[in-house]
Symmetry: C2
Subunit: 262 residues, 2 copies
Amino acid sequence: MRWCRFQSGDGEPTYGLVEGDRVVEVQGTPFGAYSRSAVSHALADVQLLIPVMPSVFYAAGVNYREHITEMAKIGAVDPVFPAAADVGYRANNALVADGHPIVIPADATDLVQYEGELVVVFAKDCYRVSEEEALDYVLGYTIGNDVSERTWQRTDRTLWRAKNTDTFNPMGPWIETDLEPDGLKVTIRLNGRKVFTYGVGDAIFSVRHYISRMSQYMTLHAGDVLWMGTDGPTENMKHGDVVEIEIPGIGVLRNPVVREGM
Amino acid sequence: MRWCRFQSGDGEPTYGLVEGDRVVEVQGTPFGAYSRSAVSHALADVQLLIPVMPSVFYAAGVNYREHITEMAKIGAVDPVFPAAADVGYRANNALVADGHPIVIPADATDLVQYEGELVVVFAKDCYRVSEEEALDYVLGYTIGNDVSERTWQRTDRTLWRAKNTDTFNPMGPWIETDLEPDGLKVTIRLNGRKVFTYGVGDAIFSVRHYISRMSQYMTLHAGDVLWMGTDGPTENMKHGDVVEIEIPGIGVLRNPVVREGM
C-alpha cells in the first residue's frame, strides 16, 4: 500500500491511498483504525503534504563509509566511522512536502548540499525489540533530503541551522508499505543529471539494527520517523536548481531550490 | 495565569487553569481560542500531565559558566564556553509529568544526574523577531529536569540515550504566564536537601537572545518548548531518591527516582 497525506478542500489534512494515478480518501489514519471512502481524486489534482508529522524526528546521521570519507576530505581530516548506532535528531520545523521549494537563507554560503536518504516510518509503539522483530513495527518507507549548509555544520556547536533551517528537510512523496529496506537503491539527480547512486544495504548499521538498539532505551512511537543517512559525495545546490531523490519501489522526491532575495 | 493539562475522566487530555487549590476546566487550548467552563476540580484530585507536547523540543544545553566548569572538571579538560547561542534538541519520548518516576535503566552507571532548568513555552508562531519582541511570542514558563547519564554523555556520538532515555525529561507542573524570566531563581533539592540555587539571569545567552537568534532561521511554533540549561555542579540520583526543582513564581517539579530491576 502507498499512504499519502493531502489537502482535500479547505478541511483538515486527510490520509489517502495512492492507487495508480488516483488517490482514494481514507477515514482515519495508517496508525489506527481506518476505512476506505467512496471518494477518490486524480493524483495530479491533489496537493501532497508531508506524509506524517512525527513526535520525534530521528536521523542516523553518519552511516555510510563513502559519505564519511568525502566529508572528511572537505575538512582535511581523517574519516572517523561511528563505533555504534548512536542516533541523532532533526526538527519538524524543517520538514516540507514533495514539490515545496528548499529556501536557502540569504546569509548561507554556496555550500548548501543535498543528502538523499531512506526514511523509516513507525506503525506502532516499539520498545525493546530484537533485530528480528524490528521491521514488524514499521509502517513503511518514504524519502528524505537532509539538506545541509556545510559551513554552519563545521562551525556551529550543534547542527541547529546547518540541518534544521526551515525547508531543509523535504520528505515524501508518500509512504510505501510493501518493501524490504536492505535491497533498495537511492539515486540523486541534480537538474536531471544523476549525481550518485548507492545501496541502502551498504549502511554501516542496518535499519533493523538501529531500531532494535534505539528501542532498548526509548519508546519509538507510531508516526515517528528515522532517516537512515546518505552515501557518497554531495554537490552544492543553487537558486533555480531542481533536486530529485529516487528510490525505485517508493518514488521520487523532487524539490526546487530558491535562494532568498533572488 | 497558570495553565495545566490534566486527565479528566476517561476522555482526552484537557487544559485547565490552576487557581489556588482548584483547577478550572477550559474548552480549547492556550494556543488558540478557549473559554472557561463551569467545571472545576480540587487540584489534589487531578492527575497532571505534561503541560504541552511540543512539535520541536529545543534545549540550550551548555549555557551557564559554573555548570560548564564543573562538567569540564569531571572530564579533566579545560572548560569551553559556547561562542554563540547554538540550540540543541531533546526528544518527546523522554518527557514525563510532575510526579512521574524517573526510571534509570539497569545498564546505566551510577552517574545519573539532575539538571534543573527554566522552560520557555511558545504561544504562537515566531519567525525573525528581535530580542525586544521575543517575549511577545512566549506563553509562559514551566520547569524541566534534563536528567543525564554522564558516562553515555561522554562516550556516545550523540546525546541520544544520555539525555533522551524514556522518563529522562520531567517537565511541569504547569505553565505560568505572568513572569519576567531574567529575575527567576532555580533551586534544586535532593531528598529535601538544597543542593544548588542559581539565577536564570546568569545565563551566557538570555531567553530573549536565544529566541531572536533561533527565529532567524527557523519558525518556532505554538507549543514548542525551549529548555534554558542549568548551572552549578550536579549530583548522582539513586533508587528511592526524590528530586525537586523549584522556581518561585512557577512552583515545584518533583519526581521520584527508580532504578530498573530494584
